[in-house]
Symmetry: C2
Amino acid sequence: MEQIHDSGKRCLSILSSDENEELYSKSNSLNFEAGELIIKKGTPVNNIYFLKSGIVELSLNEAPHRQILNLLFDGEFIGINCVFSTAQYRFSARALTNCSIELLDKETFTKLLKANSTLSMAFIQYISWVNEGFLNWQMKLKEKNSAGALAFLISEFQKNFDSNSFEIPLTRQEMARIIGFSKESVLKNLADFRKEGLINSNGKSITIIDALRLEEIAKYG
Amino acid sequence: MEQIHDSGKRCLSILSSDENEELYSKSNSLNFEAGELIIKKGTPVNNIYFLKSGIVELSLNEAPHRQILNLLFDGEFIGINCVFSTAQYRFSARALTNCSIELLDKETFTKLLKANSTLSMAFIQYISWVNEGFLNWQMKLKEKNSAGALAFLISEFQKNFDSNSFEIPLTRQEMARIIGFSKESVLKNLADFRKEGLINSNGKSITIIDALRLEEIAKYG
DNA sequence: ATCAGAGGGTGTAATTTTACACCTGCGTAA
DNA sequence: TTACGCAGGTGTAAAATTACACCCTCTGAT
């Protein structure tokens, strides 16, 4: 079987126009500003959040020492594992950039899943794919030192932009919580990367100068 | 919605006797001895491995520095994320104890998933539940120091046994690779636990003496 | 205009973890 | 029987990471 998913969008594109109309008649469009809380841990699962645009962070705990689980980019469902396995969300979701979200009705989506086996198979493939990707991401981070993990994070962000210059919508502290090291380790590694001519950085703006060597560090050899 | 899954067994118990017969007419029972490789990374996904008894380890790489992803206990599907999202298994699975496995035919299972919406919903719930659990496990490990992570691992094993005395079918090296620290860290923390009267241990046998304090260390506060 | 807070940044000390060296006992293959 | 390898175990030195102290700049509120 070939890999057919590039994101959660594929699931929604499978719906017939009737099904689509039924789903969207009961859904709402929401906009969140950068920094806003989208889902608070413990909230009952009544809706399915589909991220139309923006970047979202999932974290286990609220401030101040929240552990960041994962980043979601546009085209993904937010917290999809909780929708069909727990009564409440088991983490919090926060907008890192301005976000546009479609709030689908869970009952309607469930009804469509049951009625449309093409959709349910696509959905099974989607959550398998998304979890497999998440698992790989975590494992790759786990086996790296602080420099490698930071380089890896920067490289991953770069994949979502066309240019070598882009903005990472994270504070140093947040980057630290994603890769599992301290804020100071992030700052010192960034300083090293600058000194060695791998990147330029100024606040949240970053320019990758030597992508090859950065990739090498990300691989941690 | 209440949480309805305790393991992958629930999915199989949904089948009608006709469906059950169809699935098992094309399946094989296999036994693996402790240490045997069950799935080699890169193997094409043609079957679905259901773990009837035993403990299995998933790892990203072969020896010598393999990173251990996860442990699976009886009643789980092995590597279920790969079945519907990739053409090849992206990790290796190895028997830690003697294992009994049912090798289901992927095409037949897929056919049943498409035909039986109760099964497909149960399966969606199962993979959501299993991945949510795995994610939680990884996050809990990530936020701990070496002593906390080791105490956590021991506590998790204890949940699968009735007694305070049990065998952990892992070498110190393997325990280290699961919790993400070095072999020496595991050994030194075990020695500390013994000195402080939290456990007794002799090779793979372990007896928990002070479960309360071990839990406290596992929580790392 | 000033003040407070947040974020970026750096140096140094303390702590944690790893690496290395080496010892033990046990099983097993020659 | 011997010898080898493997796993458990421990001490010490080296390396990596964190914690703390403190700096600067910017921004928004009073």
